[in-house]
Assembly symmetry: C2
Homo-oligomer: 242 residues x 2
DNA sequence: TCAATAGTGTCTCTAAGACACTATCAG
DNA sequence: CTGATAGTGTCTTAGAGACACTATTGA
């Protein structure tokens, strides 16, 4: 008969290294808008495996520094962009025996959005990181299964744009409704009807006015500027748009 | 100067146990409908930590037997229910330093649905597993953060019911529209208007007729039976319901 | 007959789609 | 003035909500 042991005693003798366990990473697809295109931040791998290939920013959890998965993602992004991103959410987790040549591996995939301007200078100074237009990413041979991860995050971005105000996070505040519509269109990869767009957004009450601005291109009627209202981030429309 | 090594050489000398890594588990919130209540499958823990408490089914990945995370979830459910569940999807992944007394731990949370009948006998024979009405789960002191995980899965279930036909997976086929409406109502925790419900489901073309059946309770007009049409599983409504 | 369950007709209401219209600026 | 951009008026349409109605059975 085996002797019953207490939980305290059990924990004392427990060592995770006695068991086979998968690699665990966090990867982030960080998107922005620049020059009228959707762009993703990629990092050139400096170490094996897949050294020299482009990959999503990410890496291992720091068991001391990171209190949660989310912290790992923010930390990795801060290293590459110099800022805390305004939108960071988990897309899902992919785990299988093939995705990493080192063995069974699990990655928690995050999707993040950031306005381009405040990151540009810092990213230029990080020699292994750069923005890539989403259309060009398909032509690269990304490390691991990161091409699939980019697609997963891109899909999530597209679908959430259809029933939230997610795109506010790729714009610098304040912004005009015209700019916001362009952002929606680029993230959804669709063109939207102007009146429907404005009615939807304004009726939702998720924006507050923030003065007047100059029109795009300098000529034309001046524009009303807006910024997101407090707690508008999780507003959900009851119909999908577009 | 360090010598450049090849990827093959790198992989040969790589040992994951050289690095600190979190525990990784898969947990599944399996729901069913029985006696007009939503129920969730729980398992009484036979080992430390939290021995004797009720927990979600789940556990460690078997690096040899499981090709993907999904396989771990199906395997664990098969052990407890004796069947392959008809709906299994990932809800998200929770990872932090506090959720498991053994240390930094990550769990991939899945949500699953199954009709009650085909599982009942097998589950009765599994002494450590039983269905719990969702309302009673709050009164138990579940292991780890499983109370939160149940809530997360419950929320996902509720929200997806509002724009998909997910509830077809808790019914035995064929079923009547009345039964399907009861399933929607229990999963959404709301009452639905009969005409709106029938119009919505029938117009979507996600069901095919499957003969006639007896009405609930034996008296009354006989009912038309349906089964899900092929590839109707990922049908998305463009408006949320209820 | 009735009670019980299944299923329909039809009006209202909300929000999206279409698209022509007006408004305000620079040059 | 013209041309460019910002913003509106208004009709149509799809689909949900409300709710009274009819249909078909067992007892």
């Amino acid at each position: 008969m085996s002797r019953e042991i207490t939980e305290a005693r059990f924990l004392k003798q427990y060592d995770p290294k006695d068991y086979d366990s998968p690699l665990v990473t966090v990867d982030i697809a960080l998107f922005t808008l620049h020059e009228s295109t959707l762009q993703v931040l990629l990092v050139e791998r400096g170490e094996h495996p897949h050294k020299g290939r482009w990959a999503l920013p990410g890496g291992f959890i720091d068991l001391q520094a990171d209190a949660e998965l989310h912290d790992t993602a923010q930390r990795k992004l801060r290293q590459k962009t110099g800022v805390d991103v305004p939108l960071l959410e988990q897309v899902g987790t992919v785990g299988n025996a093939q995705r990493d040549p080192r063995g069974w591996s699990v990655t928690a995939l995050y999707m993040a959005l950031v306005p381009h301007a405040p990151t540009a200078e810092f990213i230029d100074s990080v020699t292994d990181a750069r923005w890539w237009p989403i259309d060009e990413v398909g032509k690269l041979r990304l490390a691991f299964d990161h091409a699939e991860l980019v697609d997963l995050a891109r899909e999530r971005l597209k679908s959430k744009t259809a029933y939230t105000v997610l795109p506010v996070h790729v714009l610098r505040q304040p912004f005009s409704l015209t700019q916001l519509q362009r952002a929606f269109e680029l993230l959804m990869d669709a063109t939207l009807e102007k009146k429907s767009f404005r009615r939807r957004i304004l009726n939702a009450g998720v924006l507050e006015e923030a003065g007047e601005g100059v029109p795009e291109g300098g000529r034309g009627r001046p524009t009303v500027l807006y910024r997101p209202a407090k707690n508008s981030g999780q507003y959900l429309f009851t119909r999908v748009f577009g």
